[in-house]
Amino acid sequence: MIIEMNAIRKSFDQNEVLKEVSFSIQGGEICALLGENGAGKSTLMNILGGVHQMDSGYITVNGYQVTFDTPIESQKTGITFIHQELNLINYLPIYENMFIGRELKTKWGSLDLERMLVETEEMFRQMNIDLNPETMVRDLDSSYKQIVEICRAMMTNASIIIMDEPTTSLTDQEIERVFKMMKTLKERNVGIIFISHKLNEVMKICDRYVVLRDGSLVAEGNVNDVTTNNLSRYMVGYEVRSEPLAKERKIGSEILRVEGLTSIAFRNIDFSIKAGEIVGVTGLLGDGRSELFQSIFGAEKVSAGKIFLNGNEVKIKSTTQAIKKGIAYLPRNRKENAIIKDMDIIDNASIVTWPTFSWNGIINRKKHIEIFTVQRKALRLKMGELTDRITSLSGGNQQKVVLAKWLAASPKLLILDNPTQGVDVGAKEDIYDIILKLADENIAVIVLSSEAQEIIRVCDRALVMYHGNLQGEVAGEAMNEHTIMHLATGGQLDVRKGERSVDE
């Protein structure tokens, strides 16, 4: 099957999102659709998926012109859109999920669970997937959920699958699993449109690439002919840096030390961080790093261990207390944990600091706006009115607003959990700049990330976790992707090579 989208135009209100974009995909190829947030990727795919209607232009399938007025029409043609937020029902087993909306019935009209189970097993066998179809979806990790969605698409005989950032919440191991699946699909002559911000993955799995910028197609071609540098330049329109950013800084006194910290998610954690340091914490999914730092922030319970701030032992029972003690925590999964969608931009940027410019609980509006206006410039926020909803911003700018609320609290210890998740290349660099500037201002910064490259670029040293244990600490030469991955998969540091271990 070959699908061609020709000279597609689309505007929302006055805002022209797509300016005569043409795009094509055929069976058996994996095409990367690249671009910063707001470049028009989602809109283009939503038009293909029948969610939005184009203003002008036309779509052909195998040469015949078609229109997709609803998602169902698009699906019937064989196009399946796998959204970033997976559409699975957690409290049903896999095989029932596979048949949602097109359940198999017995002749009595009741669900034919047996046949559904058998067909799912058959599907998994064909696809070489080692999963028990009777497992509840809530017990699966994100990669398997992704795989279940893909299988579901395959069962409806999808010939084109759109995958919207399928790997953002996956660890490297899981990504491998999804990639393997994608290769299988390719062999079966399915076309895949792969939307991602991770250029390394694009280089690895894709055949072709198409880059959108500000609603126009700026580059396309074979992946073999380009480098990641080329691609990121196409995406942002200028050269992007990739050199390490960490440099010599004045290191102050110890800010945080934990001893033997233990909970369900992690065990016996010891480490410390000094003012002006940037420490990375990484690992694979299930390593417990988010839980560890949420506990330090007072959002989760600890069963044993001690926390010291500035050398004094503290007991932190709530996030409110943690903030008072100068700890800030920027959570992962912005949409679930950080964005308050019913509040405007300025309130989202100042929810933590309201008490500092209010009198008896009454907010001083003038001061509120003054403070935010300064921040807005410093963070290079691209936004409309102060009172626009936070959801009107692109992912990168949303993240900057969330960062703003913590910076306004002038913390001594800043914990950033996946700070560049779902953020485009340009905004990523802005966030790195902010991190480095904060360290220069003598703030202790902890960066939690699943991307080893990010840690290596920004951090002075890195802690690697594995299944709730602190597996090792790396710095300098030893802080490379290979060593980090070795530790993150449960390997030990070889002391003879000069790499030091935290446990010594």
Binding site: A299, T320, E336, A338, I339, M343, I351, V352, P355, S358
Partner: protein, 348 residues
């Protein structure tokens, strides 16, 4: 020439469409204006002079507003409760419980609590008001504690409280008919000029205070944060439990104010029927005014409009002579229509 007027019409239409989609209060206000025009028409112009027509119109309005002041105040609190993502079904029963306390304290008979202590007149009234408000606040806090500390879902906690408060009140007030001193009735019946508008003034004052609280205070903003994304609010250092507790306590306080108004307006209370269905009316007013049952979104002013829309409609049905049993159906119809007309959150 015709072309330019065409353009102008286009602009007016666009302005209207823009307002309709962008401003949540706009559609509610339009609906209210339509209702008021309808009501004016139905009231008719069959009067000797403009003066007497205007007098009748004003009197009708004062009646509507006064009759709805109590429930109007409760609807304001309900808006805040719903904005946190909760609900309070116990308002009617809290009204009866606090009203019963007021009457027991004030009773001019032999069993009057304050009378037994020898406190009468203005001090007794003031003491009664203070005690009743404190009692309402405590009952609200009790619900709040079971929701925040006991982690009972608001629907269940307040459903339970609804049954408990009324049943206990009825038990204790069995065969007891307290008489409220007539001077106490002045609280609601005091005439400003020729008009009995005190309850309307209380309502307006409380609406203004809550409007200010919701727009300009940390507490008001935290309500939105908690209702919109509880987890994000907690991770931003908002004491979610405290915000919820305060909202339910405030709800109890507002109900007790409504109870004082009701007791001072009528001088008596039917403990088995007063306030029944009140929770639904309050929720309806909030919803018609644009409050989202999902939490996070709501407007104090919208609830005032919503209450007025429902009140004017009741008045209209009265003027039209619609059979009483059918009136609820119209109310239900209005609530559903209001939500149909409101701007929907985009799902994609």
């Amino acid at each position: 020439m015709s072309n330019s007027s065409e353009v102008k019409r286009q602009n007016v239409f666009q302005w209207f469409a823009n307002k309709w989609t962008r401003e949540p209060l706009f559609s509610t206000a339009i609906a209210l204006i339509i209702m008021v025009i309808l009501q004016t028409l139905v009231l008719g112009f069959d009067y000797d002079s403009f003066g007497s027509w205007f007098q009748a119109w004003i009197n009708n309005w004062i009646n509507i507003l006064r009759n709805n002041a109590g429930i109007g105040i409760i609807a304001l609190g309900m808006t805040l409760v719903i904005m946190t993502g909760g609900i309070d079904l116990a308002v009617g029963s809290t009204l009866v419980a606090t009203g019963a306390l007021a009457m027991m304290l004030l009773d001019t008979g032999t069993k009057g609590l304050l009378g037994m202590l020898g406190i009468t007149g203005i001090p007794a009234f003031l003491l009664t008001i203070v005690l009743v408000l404190v009692f309402g606040y405590l009952l609200g806090s009790l619900i709040g504690v079971s929701i925040t500390k006991g982690k009972v879902p608001p629907f269940i906690a307040t459903l339970g409280a609804m049954m408990i408060f009324r049943s206990v009140t009825q038990h204790f007030m069995q065969g007891y008919n307290p008489k409220v001193p007539t001077e106490f009735l002045q609280i609601a019946s005091f005439k400003l000029g020729n008009y009995m508008i005190m309850p309307i003034l209380y309502w307006a004052f409380i609406a203004y205070v809550l409007y200010y609280v919701s727009k300009r205070t940390i507490f008001g903003r935290q309500i939105i944060a908690v209702g919109s994304n509880e987890r994000a609010a907690r991770l931003s250092g908002v004491d979610v439990e405290r915000v919820k507790l305060k909202v339910y306590a405030l709800m109890g306080l507002l109900v007790s104010i409504a109870a004082v108004i009701q007791v001072s307006r009528i001088g008596s209370m039917d403990f088995s029927n007063a306030g029944r269905g009140m929770e639904m009316d309050a929720i309806a007013a909030a919803v018609v005014g644009g409050t989202s049952m999902m939490g996070g979104r709501g407007l104090i002013l919208g609830t005032v409009y919503g209450m007025l829309i429902i009140a004017v409609m009741n008045n209209l049905l009265n003027l039209f002579g619609v059979p009483p049993f059918l009136r609820e159906a119209f109310k239900g119809f209005i609530v559903i229509c209001a939500v149909l007309l409101q701007k929907k959150e985009k799902t994609s």
